[in-house]
């Protein structure tokens, strides 16, 4: 079972930009992103997220989001998916960057978990 990353942002460009940042340090990690409800409209949508999850090549997903409502949609999608999805309350950019760098370096899941815990923020 491979572990991958999903990023859910309210904004199209943020999602795309994070993808580029992560690809630099983690070109072998499967990273899929979605941002906005369209390229111009800000928001998140449950369907887009569910679709992202289903089309993602990995079965074990570490999920990162920016604002609270993205988390609600992520949680709903998680309930409807068979995949194992962990949603992290960490900074979307810095948290996903850390996770990507560690996955690329083949670091054990529990170590990644620990590192992400240190980035926990209330959001």
């Amino acid at each position: 079972m491979t572990t991958g990353i999903i990023i859910v942002s309210h904004v199209y460009e943020i999602a795309k930009g994070i993808n580029r940042l992560l690809q630099e340090v983690a070109s072998d990690v499967n990273i899929e992103v979605v941002g906005g409800i369209s390229e111009v409209e800000i928001g998140t949508s449950f369907d887009n997220i569910l679709q992202l999850i289903e089309q993602h090549p990995s079965d074990n997903l570490l999920a990162f989001y920016d604002l609270g409502s993205a988390k609600m949609n992520l949680e709903m999608a998680r309930e409807l998916s068979e995949k194992s999805i962990t949603i992290y309350d960490v900074p979307i950019v810095e948290g996903s960057y850390t996770a990507a760098a560690l996955l690329q370096a083949d670091v054990a899941n529990n170590v990644i978990e620990q590192q992400l815990k240190e980035l926990h923020i209330y959001k």
């Binding site: 928001g43 949508s45 949609n73 709903m76």
Partner: protein, 184 residues
């Protein structure tokens, strides 16, 4: 739902205005977009049962609203659907199911200055057989002095005090529409 949609479209600008001091000025647009899809879907699919209707509403709100209100109203109608499927048919029980779903999803409590602060008193009034337009409006007004603890409004902390919560207002539109539909 027709009536609810009408009210949403009529009050779209006011909802957005409510979302300006304590949010991101999109609640009117969000609800208007979502409800437009809902009525369109109802039109084309003409559901022949309450169950079918609730499914359409749930799916469209979930995917088309865009803001926090999307998963929350989506969950509300999903909760109502489930309660109905479990054999309950009183509005009191069904709306109670909706309320619980919103709370499960959004983790807000009464007093956090959210739509919960309208849903909870509405369910309570139904238990006492006394849901009126006044009860609904009072609940909306009562969100004004509250300090937001959930959603975007919570970012501005103290500064959320003195403003009506937009989700509370849109929920009120839903319940007014229900009362009106019942009266017809």
């Amino acid at each position: 739902m027709e009536l609810f949609n009408e009210k949403i479209q009529q009050e779209k600008d006011y909802l957005t205005q409510l979302d300006t001091p304590i949010g991101d000025s999109d609640h009117g647009n969000n609800m208007s977009r979502g409800m437009t899809y809902v009525v369109e879907a109802i039109d084309t699919q003409s559901p022949d049962s309450l169950e079918a209707l609730l499914k359409i509403v749930t799916a469209n709100l979930l995917s088309k609203v865009g803001g926090a209100s999307g998963p929350l109203y989506g969950s509300a109608f999903m909760g109502m659907l489930k309660t109905y499927q479990e054999g309950e048919s009183s509005w009191r029980k069904i709306l109670q199911g909706g309320l619980e779903s919103i709370q499960k999803r959004g983790k807000a409590e009464v007093g956090d200055k959210t739509m919960i602060d309208v849903w909870a008193p509405v369910v309570l009034a139904l238990e006492n057989d006394g849901l009126t337009d006044e009860v609904i409006d009072e609940a909306v007004e009562a969100t004004k002095p509250l300090k937001a603890k959930k959603g975007r409004a919570s970012y501005v902390g103290e500064r959320s005090i003195g403003h009506i919560d937009p989700g509370a207002y849109s929920s009120a539109l839903l319940f007014h529409a229900m009362l009106e539909a019942e009266a017809e």
